[in-house]
């Protein structure tokens, strides 16, 4: 669905690349997470793939269209949800969706249905300028689904939302993914990527460091640990053991057999920890 080869982009049109020799492919039906801290080049890459930024150097193919000279028809297959909500404040939620709906040549979803999905039906006829940030964001998100996109670009879809709404949105994304939509998710939130994506790519300073599935990454870079709290006499002791090292496994067995266990849980390395390990940088 997406094919990127040797992609470069510079805002200053010199050798200060915001996107530096990036290569990857996203298969049809796949959910791909594009991860990196702010300013790493995520949004620039997405900008090029959605035609908002002109192609400078390299090759990018989106939904079968060459981005060097894309046809407007391509957008019938695409849905784009922006990080910063962008809706007409002077128009109502319904008017906003009705307007954009008419710009597509393909069958679209009834705006009321979408408002229902994102929980905005009760304010369908209110001007968007009166909305809270989260409501505007949901409206932007709903708009990106209008044309039942085959390829869905999501830029930080849950950032800044309260957990309940974020969960709703995640559920919608999972649902669409199951139905076969290809998803290109840009985020710096590793938990969401972990939850939603089949594969993730780490980008930093414009360079794509690695691509793999979250599971593989965890297996490869993660260290399986068990955190344990137990009673030794009147004292509560804390410890953690690796499940991979023989010697520590034996120690853990010993504690389980001889002491009263208060708390015990296995701890997988998070994608965030792996990211730091791979890139040497945090995610904020």
């Amino acid at each position: 669905m997406i094919k990127v080869e040797n992609l470069f982009y510079s805002y200053t049109k010199d050798s200060k690349y915001a996107v530096d020799d990036v290569n990857f492919e996203v298969a049809k039906g796949e959910a791909f997470g594009f991860l990196g801290p702010s300013g790493a080049g995520k949004s620039t890459t997405q900008g090029i793939l959605t035609g908002l930024l002109p192609m400078q150097d390299g090759l990018a193919e989106v939904a079968g269209y060459n981005m060097k000279n894309p046809s407007r028809k391509m957008f019938n297959k695409l849905g784009v949800s922006f990080e910063q909500s962008n809706v007409y404040g002077k128009l109502t939620a319904l008017e906003n969706l009705e307007f954009y709906r008419k710009l597509f040549d393909v069958e679209t979803i009834e705006p009321n249905v979408l408002l229902e999905i994102v929980g905005l039906s009760h304010v369908a006829n209110k001007k968007a300028s009166t909305f809270s940030k989260g409501m505007k964001h949901r409206l932007t998100f709903a708009r990106s689904m209008l044309n039942k996109p085959e390829l869905w670009f999501l830029d930080e879809p849950t950032t800044g939302l309260d957990p309940a709404i974020a969960n709703q949105i995640k559920d919608v994304i999972k649902e669409k993914s199951k139905e076969g939509s290809t998803i290109f998710l840009t985020t710096h939130n590793m938990f969401i990527a972990d939850e939603l994506c089949d594969r993730v790519g780490f980008i930093i300073d414009g360079v794509l460091k690695l691509i793999d599935s979250p599971r593989n990454l965890k297996l490869k870079y993660g260290q399986k640990l068990v955190d344990i709290e137990y009673k030794d006499g009147n004292e509560i002791k804390k410890d953690s053991f690796s499940l991979i090292k023989e010697e520590e496994r034996l120690k853990l067995n010993h504690i389980i057999n001889n002491y009263e266990i208060e708390l015990m849980h296995t701890k997988e390395a998070t994608l965030e920890e792996i990211f730091i390990k791979v890139t040497g940088r945090g995610l904020v």
């Binding site: 908002l52 695409l78 784009v80 909500s85 962008n86 404040g89 710009l103 708009r143 670009f153």
Partner: protein, 344 residues
């Protein structure tokens, strides 16, 4: 079809930002000023302060001086009074007439800012006035008028074409940039850019809003000020062509900038430059080439034709055609530029 949806949405937005109401209100204020403050014709005649020596027959001289209809004659008792009045009224001239050595001496007193050519004209016309009754005087000039039915508009009506030009025709020049940058600011332009709709549909719909606004203000003003003394068919044709032209220039300028603040500067300069054509409109003998090449120059005169009983149809429609073509060219050019820069 997409263009139509876009246009309807833009009209809704412009009604909800009150922008159109402001434009209409402004047209109404202009109408009120024109009807209630501006006199139908303001006397632009200059005052001529004259002192005539008692030895001369003043009645005949006054009659002769008044014959060219260009000034009001005010008789005073002395040269000093003339000088005093000239200082009071800086837009006037003085004349003292006396007999010296059997000849009539006309002593013309000007302010001092008048050009040499003007002085020469005053001198020669007085001489001509003085000699034309001599028996030897031979006049062998005749006057040919090319347009037999040409007419002058009243001073009030004469201001209307300028309003139509600066406000209705150039509505878009002034405002279209604001519309585009407002969409940019709201981010809705990016949302638009990821739909299959085309950039030209977006731009054309903005042009449509500007056109409706321009037509509305132009027609309201004309209807209230000129009533039926205007040819509305020609007016509408001209308004459409010039408004499209103005907006396409506005689009073109906007395509070079990334924020309204920056674009507004260039737009103001363009607008004011084009407004200079009004000087030559009100003073048709002031016609430097630099003003005659401004597009606003023929526009102003074409708008004037609309109010004449026998308008120069060829002139009006050559303007209509010319500016429509130019509008199309600038529109295509802007479209080409915006395709690359609209979302960057």
């Amino acid at each position: 079809m997409k263009f139509a949806h876009n246009f309807i949405k833009d009209m809704k937005v412009s009604f909800k930002t009150f922008y159109i109401y402001i434009e209409i209100l402004m047209a109404l204020i202009f109408v009120a000023i024109l009807l209630f403050v501006v006199p139908e014709n303001f006397s632009s005649d200059i005052n001529m302060y004259a002192h005539i020596d008692s030895s001369l027959q003043s009645n005949e001289i006054v009659e002769a001086l008044e014959s060219d209809n260009s000034s009001n004659i005010i008789l005073l008792d002395s040269m000093d009074e003339i000088k005093y009045m000239l200082e009071e009224d800086r837009n006037s001239i003085g004349i003292s007439i006396s007999m010296v050595d059997q000849k009539i001496l006309y002593n013309v007193i000007l302010q001092g800012y008048e050009s040499q050519k003007y002085r020469n004209i005053i001198e020669k016309s007085l001489i001509a006035e003085g000699i034309k009754d001599l028996p030897e005087y031979g006049s062998n000039t005749n006057i040919v008028t090319l347009a037999s039915s040409s007419e002058r508009l009243s001073d009030r009506l004469n201001m209307l074409p300028i309003f139509l030009l600066l406000n209705s025709a150039f509505t878009g020049l002034f405002i279209v940039a604001t519309y585009i940058f407002m969409d940019k600011e709201e981010g809705t332009i990016r949302a638009f850019a990821v739909t299959p709709a085309k950039v030209w549909e977006y731009l054309l719909s903005k042009m449509g809003v500007m056109l409706v606004t321009g037509l509305l203000t132009g027609l309201i003003t004309t209807l209230l000020v000129a009533g039926l003394k205007a040819n509305y068919l020609h007016l509408i044709a001209l308004l459409i062509a010039t408004n499209l032209f103005g907006t396409s220039i506005g689009l073109f300028i906007s395509s070079f900038y990334d924020s309204i603040m920056k674009a507004m500067g260039a737009i103001l300069v363009t607008f004011m430059t084009l407004a200079f054509a009004t000087t030559s409109y009100f003073m048709p003998s002031f016609n430097p080439i630099i003003i005659r090449i401004l597009p606003s120059y023929p526009m102003a005169f074409a708008f004037r034709e609309v109010f004449l009983e026998n308008p120069d149809i060829a002139y009006i429609y050559s303007n209509v055609a010319g500016f429509t073509v130019l509008a199309a060219l600038f529109f295509l050019w802007s479209n080409h530029r915006f395709k690359k820069t609209l979302t960057v």
